[in-house]
């Protein structure tokens, strides 16, 4: 299609005169040139955001301009929409470039666009660009006939500014244009007029009016504008039949093809990244358009929860109004909580934008933008983030070539430092082939300083040992069949393992099959069938049950074993790697849950130290037990991330490169990512728990890892700063952090409560003369050692009794 296009010739002198000769209109010419192109419509305060920093934003005008018609056609204006789209230009010009034409632009901006203009306003012709040739100066104009689609994102909850990205037929995208509606005189006037006219800020479709609507309206006067049914943010300009079939309309036959194409349009070029650059601000300044659309998708939304949210004084008036809209009310059936819903939805947008960004090569700006958008007043990641992200090489996956180059060819000894290896794996992760080797070092099956021969010998003895351990239960008929407690306990464990293995990662191909008859006719799965890998899993877990008799098998372990087994697909090797993993995970499974409790408490202190404002909010929401992170911590995000991400995340954390408990920084990173939503929308424990639970499958791994790393550095700095202030700590003197426990019976006025907390507590992670207190558990986070369960104090025997149910 680009070939068909010939850029219109530059306007000639005669053209400029034409307009002046037009008798139907009193013509205002541009003063300096005395001639120009016709400025049909324009809108002020449309910005290009070249960098994530607001101070770099460039204000300008988006304009629809009519240029010289080809000979033979009569000149036309907005009043006669028979204009060849090739003669229309959609342009964006920075204010600074307009010179004396600025006044004309301002004037046209303020014209009532509902009626055809009475006058013709001429302005100097903008530079024409059909590709990204003019990206350097940002200003551009593109013939409407060359516009393929517009990516339109209305402002919405969390998206302060609506934006439009123009995609040309030749496949180029122009910088995203952000409509700063609150600054734009015409948009303000138009939305006011609408409200007065209808007593309703919503448009025909229940949308809230914004600047981008106007642009679509301009275009609709001259060309066909079709909203894609597949990708709702895409508007096709004069689409061909093929385009319409593919993704203009609801796909009839081949929906996937349509979707792919639409997605390709939406995310195919890096410039689209700009479209998702809208800061995800913590304040809801405006809730519009999409909000209603989204509400419509919620079939179960309860009336009373909506009334709750209406009562929330922190709710912006627009949202309140929206919720009182009868259409919205009628949709409210049954939903956990309006706040929760809003929160999840707002975050969905942010996550989506993050995912789209992830398809693009990481740039330094991305991380900067991420901070701006999500973290708000909690300023992290300043310098580090740039450094972390800056060296792209460090985040390259470790491939076999690189891995092998680190080892002596003949002896098989490591020839670089362990730290160097760990650094690379921490930042880059391993290629699938490398995992089979690297994981055995990371999980401490092999010592780093071993030779090839030593490792071979070691593995031989491990294999023998595995067979021996397995034989212990395999051959023991008294347990398999015998009466008494031991037999009963063992069979319980076996049943538990059986149940769990049959519901662990069955979506992963090797665990999916049910083609093998079940070896045990008494099993509840005997009628369903099994496969060799499931059987191996059961054997390994039963053997672990034998290996670690004090702990035994506990629910969650199957989740930890499955990825390891899948990587090695060799039961003995996988078993010992799993044993290595369990060294650090053992405390998660203790009968008294002391290990989990300790981690949740550490997390509590970490949040209190690093983000006291958020912590205070969580305290108010009765959520500082951090129970909603239980699952993430227990099985190391196994249920939150997709399979491949889990492998990548685990190997990073196994390195202990920064901290032996890096997983808590990952948790903090997840929490901080959702900070704004939590603070704005979630006020009760159940809401927070539901929200966090439902993050599963939505968390973007790379940015989370980067954020976690930056948080670690910030934590480290905080500790160092605190130590400097207090003189160096004598390890024994650190007193446990005391929780801010003042009750809510006190005034809720922020000033009063902060006074209270300052005086009433010794916890004072919040500002204080001496700075925050660094507790022992917090200080331990700086260590690269993992936390092991002390063996001299074995956990209570599984068969042991207590007040708790005898059997688990």
């Amino acid at each position: 299609m680009p070939e068909e296009f010939t850029p219109p010739a530059s306007p000639t002198a005669s053209f400029y005169d034409l307009s002046e000769d037009d008798e139907d209109y009193s013509t205002i010419t541009h003063t300096s040139t005395g001639r120009g192109v016709i400025l049909l419509y324009t809108k002020s305060k449309v910005y290009v955001h070249p960098t994530p920093s607001a101070k770099d934003n460039i204000p300008g005008f988006i304009a629809l301009i009519q240029q010289k018609p080809p000979t033979g056609e009569t000149p036309s204006t907005a009043s006669s929409p028979v204009v060849n789209p090739a003669n229309l230009l959609l342009a964006w010009l920075p204010e600074s470039a307009l010179g004396s034409a600025y006044d004309t632009y301002v004037k046209v901006d303020l014209l009532d666009t509902s009626a055809p203009p009475k006058q013709t306003y001429l302005v100097p012709p903008p530079p024409i660009s059909t590709g990204n040739s003019s990206l350097g100066s940002y200003s551009f104009s593109v013939p409407v006939s060359q516009i393929y689609s517009l990516l339109v994102r209305p402002p919405s909850l969390g998206w302060w500014w609506g934006s439009i990205v123009i995609n040309s037929r030749s496949g180029d995208s122009f910088p995203a244009l952000f409509f700063h509606d609150s600054e734009c005189a015409s948009t303000i006037a138009q939305s006011k007029a609408r409200t007065q006219r209808n007593f309703d800020p919503f448009g025909e479709n229940g949308e809230l009016f914004w600047g981008g609507d106007e642009v679509l309206r301009w275009l609709k006067r001259f060309v066909k504008v079709e909203r894609s049914q597949v990708e709702r943010t895409v508007y096709l300009i004069d689409p061909t039949k093929d385009d319409l079939l593919s993704f203009g309309q609801k796909p009839v036959i081949d929906s996937t093809a349509g979707r792919d194409r639409a997605v390709a349009t939406a995310s195919g070029s890096t410039d689209i990244a700009a479209a998702v650059m809208d800061p995800f601000t913590k304040a809801i300044k405006s809730a519009r358009w999409t909000l209603l659309e989204q509400f419509a998708k919620v079939t179960q939304f309860s009336r009373q929860t909506a009334s709750n949210i209406i009562d929330n004084p922190s709710l912006p008036p627009q949202v309140r109004k929206l919720l009182k809209n009868p259409d919205v009310i009628s949709l409210q059936d049954d939903f956990d909580s309006a706040r929760l819903y809003l929160a999840r939805w707002a975050m969905g947008i942010a996550e989506q934008s993050e995912k789209e960004r992830a398809k693009i090569v990481w740039k330094r700006e991305d991380i900067m933008e991420m901070e701006d958008s999500a973290v708000g007043e909690f300023e992290i990641l300043d310098i580090e983030a740039g450094n972390i992200r800056g060296d792209g090489d460090r985040r390259r996956v470790v491939e076999m070539d690189e891995w092998s180059s680190w080892w002596n060819k003949t002896s098989g000894r490591l020839e670089i430092t362990v730290d160097e290896v760990k650094e690379r794996i921490f930042h880059g992760g391993c290629d699938a082939a490398v995992r089979k080797e690297a994981w055995l070092f990371l999980l401490e099956v092999y010592p780093w300083d071993s030779t090839k021969d030593e490792r071979a010998a070691l593995m031989n003895s491990r294999r023998d040992e595995y067979v021996r351990l397995k034989g212990k239960w395999w051959d023991d008929l008294t347990r398999r069949e015998g009466q008494g407690e031991a037999g009963e306990y063992w069979r319980d464990q076996k049943n538990r393992i059986e149940k769990d293995v049959h519901r662990t990662d069955r979506n992963i191909p090797i665990f999916a099959g049910e083609d093998t008859p079940h070896p045990d006719p008494d099993s509840q799965y005997s009628t369903i069938g099994t496969n060799v890998h499931l059987e191996q899993m059961k054997d390994m877990l039963l053997t672990y049950n034998e290996y670690n008799t004090t702990l035994g098998y506990v629910q969650g372990m199957s989740d930890l074993l499955a990825p390891i087994y899948a990587v090695f697909q060799d039961d003995a090797v996988a078993f010992w790697a799993f044993v290595g993993f369990m060294e650090r995970m053992e405390r998660n499974f203790l009968r008294d849950q002391s290990g989990m409790r300790a981690q949740l408490v550490t997390l509590d202190q970490l949040v209190m130290l690093m983000d006291p404002v958020l912590w205070k909010h969580l305290e108010k929401a009765e959520s500082t037990n951090f129970f909603f992170f239980f699952r993430m911590i227990l099985v190391w995000y196994k249920r939150e991330f997709e399979w491949n991400d889990v492998l990548r995340l685990w190997e990073s954390m196994w390195t202990n490169y920064l901290s032996g408990q890096f997983h808590l920084f990952v948790t903090l990173a997840v929490l901080e990512r959702h900070r704004a939503v939590i603070m704005d929308h979630l006020q009760h424990f159940d809401e927070v728990l539901k929200y966090i639970n439902e993050l599963s499958g939505t968390i973007e791994l790379n940015s989370t890892l980067i954020r976690a790393e930056a948080l670690f550095y910030k934590f480290q700095r905080t500790v160092e700063a605190s130590d400097r202030r207090n003189g160096f700590p004598s390890p024994g003197t650190a007193t446990p952090m005391v929780r801010l426990t003042h009750r809510r019976t006190t005034s809720s006025a922020p000033s009063a409560s902060s006074e209270n907390s300052a005086s009433a507590s010794k916890g004072k992670a919040v500002a204080d003369k001496d700075g925050p207190e660094i507790t022992e558990p917090l200080r331990a986070l700086l260590s690269r050692n993992i936390v092991r369960v002390e063996k001299k104090e074995p956990a209570e025997d599984e068969a042991g009794k207590g007040k708790t149910p005898v059997r688990e």
Partner: protein
């Protein structure tokens, strides 16, 4: 405890939000029952529940609109020790066992005790429990707990309502939860009328204002 519940669970339309906790051994079908009731769906591939989660459903009980918040929990006993976080304010506790698994029936009593210890309702004797024997779709030959025995148990514990269900085939699930809702509502109302209007009510108001006023 009840102060929180009032703030959280009651709303001004005088409808009720009821909190129901499902307990029972691992693999008896707690998640499946909840999903069958709320989403009318059954999946053979639920993963073992880790931590806790809940679903909500709005139902009419005697012309009153109530929202049930149904909490699903991990079945392995050791994970219950952090249960305080979500047991609080429960209006009804559902004890589930697998009719094909003798052990899961035998532990019902300890589940009940544990719940009473952790949730510490004001009146333990009158706190509503409902017992469900699940997986009755599995063929009779595998059944380990006769109906009679289960009923005798329920009778001995104070005439606990008893249902036999199949979450897989949606047998009796609706009926069971209807009774659960009814008992939970009665419990909620009873709590409301048995005092609790003293100082704690004042706290409620403060807490409420505080909470909703938080714009942070």
């Amino acid at each position: 405890m009840s102060s929180r519940k009032k703030v959280l669970l009651k709303n001004k339309n005088s409808d009720y939000k009821l909190k129901v906790i499902i307990l029972g051994d691992s693999g008896v079908g707690k998640t499946s029952l909840m999903n069958q009731y709320v989403n009318k769906k059954f999946s053979a591939s639920y993963k073992a529940t880790i931590g806790a989660d809940f679903l909500t459903k709005e139902v009419l009980v005697d012309d009153r609109l109530v929202t049930m918040q149904i909490w699903d929990t991990a079945g392995q006993e050791r994970f219950q020790s952090l249960g305080v976080a979500f047991y609080r304010g429960a209006d009804c506790c559902v004890l589930v066992y697998d009719v094909n698994n003798q052990k899961s029936f035998e532990t019902l009593d300890s589940w009940r005790d544990e719940f009473l210890i952790q949730a510490s309702p004001r009146d333990a004797d009158s706190f509503p429990f409902v017992v469900i024997g699940n997986k009755i779709d599995v063929d009779d030959g595998k059944r380990q707990v006769p109906q009679k025995r289960a009923m005798a148990f329920c009778q001995s514990k104070g005439n606990l309502p008893y249902f036999e269900t199949s979450a897989k085939e949606a047998i009796n699930v609706e009926q069971a939860f209807e009774v659960i809702a009814r008992h939970a509502l009665a419990q909620e109302e009873a709590e409301e009328y048995t005092g609790d209007f003293g100082a704690s009510t004042i706290v409620d108001i403060g807490a409420d204002a505080d909470r909703d006023g938080c714009a942070c």
